[in-house]
């Protein structure tokens, strides 16, 4: 073991230098893009580019050092990827500030700083991600509290029909974004403890086992939460997000597709009811299906104008894009938040947007990779769940903009204007970094808490294969992945 420990200590060093260089390049994307947008503005003494670059650069440096100090085995790719996305987001928001009445740039830069500080704090004080497991039920309570906050009269704020904001001292905040994390923690904690019961207890009916109701309770809580959010706050996007998070978690925990089928039946039923009884949802769906119908297009309330103009923006970008500053994002409403993908698509083209999607894909893959590598079930569920929620969010946003699915108001992670979203996503990144550190750090057998051991056995494999083959398979994977997990299994 001592031998392998040394190797693992030494091997990543060059990779972290690469990580540092990549981070620097990612931060540099911000001023370079802003210069490309309009060099005259910068030459004219406008210092917004400097504030943005310094905030991002100092934040990146602090985070880099914190990671070196507290999580030095962490995946070196995660930080540069997120920095690059945040850089480009800041540049696009700044660019839209220049040509429209929207003035979100300064606030977004401030929130970037706050979010990176929050990520640094999480990394500094969270010694081990498993500590979060202890706050499973507190997380549920916090989630409920956060989701109910906007409904408190005087505090909550309704914007465009959706009551998902709260207003404190003139600033607005979307508590639901943070609830995304606390819910993920709750699900991970609950499912890591109860998955055996859900899977093994209860009556067997036909081909699959019906869980006991009390084991199913969280599923109903999640379902009620998402429907509740939809009904009381009229926020279809968050509802889909929470439900997607839950579905991903339960699938991860049980490995059974049956749950997904059951989940989608619930969604279908909920969606059908919502379509018929909630005007908000009805408009969303009709403006999706009949987007190019003149009546729907010209409809003042709930018309498809926003979708169609977004699609025009993408089309206008074409393969190569019109270049920074040369598009017309001012023609699309919410061009710097919900529709920032259309703005980016117009100016950076399919190639640029494809590159951004690749970065997301890479980021999400690193999350799943950490999930695969980490040894405890809670960590696995949390990392994979948080990664999955990002995928769901991207699917809802980009799918909505490209008319794959109805458009719902959600932010594009790290890029859309919106402080709460930025804060939540940076905290998610901090958690992923922490988990990836645990996954990649060389560990000795005796450092493990004995209570965790039952969680780390892959239940699917356990059921389907013989124990030996399970162990040998895991060992193969782990060897290939430079993990220490095999040692104790």
């Amino acid at each position: 073991m001592a031998l392998s420990l040394r190797q693992k200590n030494d091997a990543p060093r060059s990779r972290y230098i690469v990580g540092f260089i990549l981070s620097a390049v990612a931060v540099a994307l911000c001023p370079i893009s802003m210069w490309l947008i309009d060099s005259e503005v910068i030459a004219g003494g406008d210092t917004r580019w400097l504030t943005a670059t310094l905030t991002l650069g100092i934040g990146a440096l602090v985070l880099y050092l914190v990671i070196q100090f507290k999580a030095r085995f962490a995946d070196p790719l995660i930080l540069p990827l997120v920095l690059a996305l945040n850089s480009i987001g800041l540049a696009m928001i700044y660019r839209i500030d220049l040509t429209t009445s929207a003035q979100a740039g300064a606030s977004q830069v401030m929130w970037t700083g706050v979010a990176m500080a929050a990520a640094a704090i999480v990394l500094l004080f969270l010694k081990d991600h498993r500590a979060l497991r202890r706050v499973t039920y507190i997380s549920l309570a916090v989630s409920l509290f956060l989701l109910l906050l906007p409904l408190i009269p005087g505090l909550g704020l309704e914007i465009n029909g959706a009551r998902i904001w709260i207003s404190i001292a003139g600033r607005t905040f979307q508590p639901g974004e943070i609830a995304k994390i606390t819910l993920a923690i709750f699900f991970a904690g609950y499912l890591s403890t109860h998955r055996d019961l859900i899977l093994l207890a209860g009556k067997r009916v036909g081909p699959f086992r019906l869980p006991r109701f009390k084991d199913l309770a969280p599923m109903f809580i999640a379902w009620l939460l998402s429907i509740g959010v939809l009904v009381f706050q009229r926020d279809l996007g968050s509802a889909i997000l929470f439900f997607g998070l839950f579905m991903a978690m339960i699938f991860l925990a049980t490995g059974q597709v049956t749950w997904l089928v059951l989940g989608f039946l619930f969604v279908a039923a909920g969606g059908f009811l919502a379509y018929n009884f909630i005007s908000h949802v009805y408009y969303r769906i009709s403006s999706w299906v009949h987007a190019f119908d003149p009546d729907v297009y010209n409809q003042v309330v709930g018309g498809s104008g926003q979708i169609v103009q977004g699609v025009f923006g993408l089309a206008s970008g074409g393969l190569f894009g019109r270049g920074w500053g040369n598009g017309r994002p001012d023609l699309v409403s919410y061009s710097n938040s919900d529709m920032i993908i259309a703005s980016l698509g117009e100016e950076l083209g399919l190639i640029g947007l494809g590159a951004l999607l690749m970065m997301y894909m890479l980021l999400v893959s690193r999350g799943f990779r950490a999930s695969l590598g980490v040894r405890d079930a809670f960590g696995k569920l949390l990392a994979a769940g948080l990664s999955a929620v990002m995928v769901v969010q991207l699917f809802v946003v980009i799918g909505g903009v490209t008319r794959l699915i109805p458009l719902t108001g959600l932010t594009t992670p790290f890029m859309s204007a919106g402080g709460s979203s930025l804060l939540a996503n940076w905290v998610i990144v901090a958690l992923l970094i922490a988990i990836s550190h645990s996954a990649r750090a060389p560990q000795l057998v005796d450092t493990f808490e004995p209570e965790e051991s039952s969680d780390t056995i892959d239940l699917d494999s356990y059921e389907n294969d013989g124990a030996t083959s399970v162990i040998s398979r895991i060992t193969d994977h782990n060897n290939a992945d430079h993990q220490g997990g095999a040692v104790r299994e």
Binding site: T254, F312, A315, L319, G354, F368, A388, F395, L404
Partner: protein, 480 residues
């Protein structure tokens, strides 16, 4: 659990593939269709997104783009719309553009080849493209005079510098307000356009170069005179029969002499006297004697049948081919199917004024980029040699005599030697005419050559308008 994680990762990868597919569909395969969609205002905004260059006359912007808050970035504004409509044209979101807005679009929009490096610089600096400023050769005072002379009439006036080809004035009446067509209020633009387009007086035409072309009438006799001298068969002393009526060969048609001058007082005439009194029969005989090929060649030497861009596109003037002798006789006095533009008539006088050398007419003095670097500077260029210096000099003397002793006396300016020629082209047999004057001054050092046409007037009214208009224009140029 790792199996589920891997499956979820594969599902995530599928989501990304799906999203990329959807983006590819919109941004690549459907891009053109979506750009052409009627609700997609981008294509339209594109032409308004960059600040279009100005058109400048005498230091004043007559067409400029000013920032606009109605969704378009800029609004095209014409400061003296009626005065310059024929030159500027309009810049409409619905009907496209006309005039210089169309002819100089590359420069005005900043998309010209000469602006390539500017565009590269702008691309790197991220700035929007800005168009170049186009300065015209027009003299605002002469343009104003021309417009006032035409006020209330249908017709056109062209004044140019015969030595350089610079066009000093180009007016067409009736005119219109291009602001109406360049508005962003689509309904108003459609109304205005249909009103202007259905107006029987065709205000949208620039009659000086591209209206329905006119019969040049007796102004064509200048070409006959040149042809006569070039042939060697005639000189200043030649005497030609001057019957009051000429029986045209193989027809019953009798060609009468001009009734308002002194043609009836002589039965024989020199070319000088026939030109001064604008007698028809001597020139008809000369033309029939020289043959249509010679007249056609001389007409071509003065620019008939040639394409021309100034850079507005000029309708070619027409001297018909394959005529019988009687048709040639009529053509020689600028009737039958001879068609010309006022600019062509001014170019003919210019060639006489400039020792037989015809300069290329031009409206654009300079094109300057936003950075004030010059993209184009006007320099005079010779279009063609219309005739020899000797013959030009002889015809010039005859034209001076027209003003001093002939029926173009209304164009005389005190203390200045003025050369001129009138014309009265009958429109069918209604008694209505297109009345012409062309000439230049001062004859010994020509500063300006003009062509004036009034449409649809009786012969007396025409005579009272044309030569005095010439005089007013000469005074505007010479006394300023």
């Amino acid at each position: 659990m790792n199996k589920a994680i891997r499956r979820l990762w594969i599902a995530s990868a599928c989501v990304f593939v799906l999203l990329l597919g959807a983006l590819t569909y919109i941004q690549f395969f459907e891009s053109k269709t979506l750009m052409a969609n009627q609700w997609n205002s981008r294509t339209l905004y594109d032409s308004y997104g960059s600040q279009r260059g100005s058109i400048v006359v005498g230091g004043t912007e007559i067409a400029s783009s000013v920032p606009s808050n109605d969704g378009y970035d800029y609004q095209r504004v014409y400061s003296q719309p009626e005065l310059y409509a024929g030159l500027t044209g309009y810049f409409s979101s619905i009907y496209g553009s006309s005039g210089l807005e169309s002819a100089m679009n590359d420069e005005l929009s900043g998309n010209g080849d000469e602006q390539f490096y500017d565009r590269i610089a702008q691309m790197f600096s991220g700035g929007k493209t800005t168009g170049a400023t186009v300065e015209l050769t027009i003299d605002p005072a002469i343009q104003q005079t021309a417009a006032e002379l035409l006020d209330g009439h249908k017709g056109s006036i062209v004044a140019m510098n015969p030595k350089t080809g610079e066009i000093l004035a180009m007016a067409s009446s009736p005119s219109y307000d291009p602001n109406e067509l360049s508005s962003h209020d689509n309904g108003a633009v459609i109304d205005a356009y249909s009103r202007l387009n259905s107006d029987p007086d065709n205000p949208l035409y620039n009659r000086a170069i591209a209206g329905n072309t006119y019969s040049p009438g007796s102004t064509f006799k200048i070409i006959d005179a040149v042809a006569a001298l070039e042939s060697g068969k005639y000189n200043a002393d030649s005497v030609i029969d001057n019957p009051q009526e000429l029986q045209l060969p193989n027809t019953t048609t009798k060609l009468p002499n001009y009734v308002n001058g002194q043609c009836s007082t002589r039965t024989q005439a020199t070319i000088e006297w026939a030109l001064a009194q604008s007698c028809n029969t001597p020139f008809a005989q000369i033309a029939m004697d020289l043959g249509q090929d010679k007249i056609a060649q001389t007409a071509k030497n003065f620019g008939y049948g040639e394409d021309l861009s100034i850079p507005l596109s000029v309708s070619p003037s027409v001297f018909p081919a394959d005529m019988s002798q009687d048709q040639l006789a009529l053509a020689s006095i600028g009737q039958y199917d001879v068609k010309t533009t006022p600019l062509q008539v001014a170019m003919m006088s210019s060639a006489i004024a400039n020792d037989g050398k015809q300069m290329k007419p031009n409206l654009v003095k300079s094109v300057k980029s936003r950075s004030l670097s010059s993209l184009y500077e006007f320099s005079p260029s010779e279009l063609r040699t219309s005739t020899s210096a000797d013959i030009a000099s002889q015809v010039k003397d005859w034209m001076v005599n027209d003003v001093d002793n002939g029926i173009a006396s209304g164009a005389a300016v005190n203390g200045v030697k003025v050369a001129g020629k009138t014309g009265t082209a009958e429109i069918g047999s209604t008694g209505s005419n297109n009345a012409w004057f062309t000439g230049f001054a001062p004859a010994d050092d020509p500063q300006v050559a003009v062509a004036v046409v009034y449409e649809d007037v009786d012969a007396v009214t025409g005579a009272s308008l044309t030569s005095p208009a010439g005089k007013a224009l000469f005074e505007a140029v010479l006394n300023k």
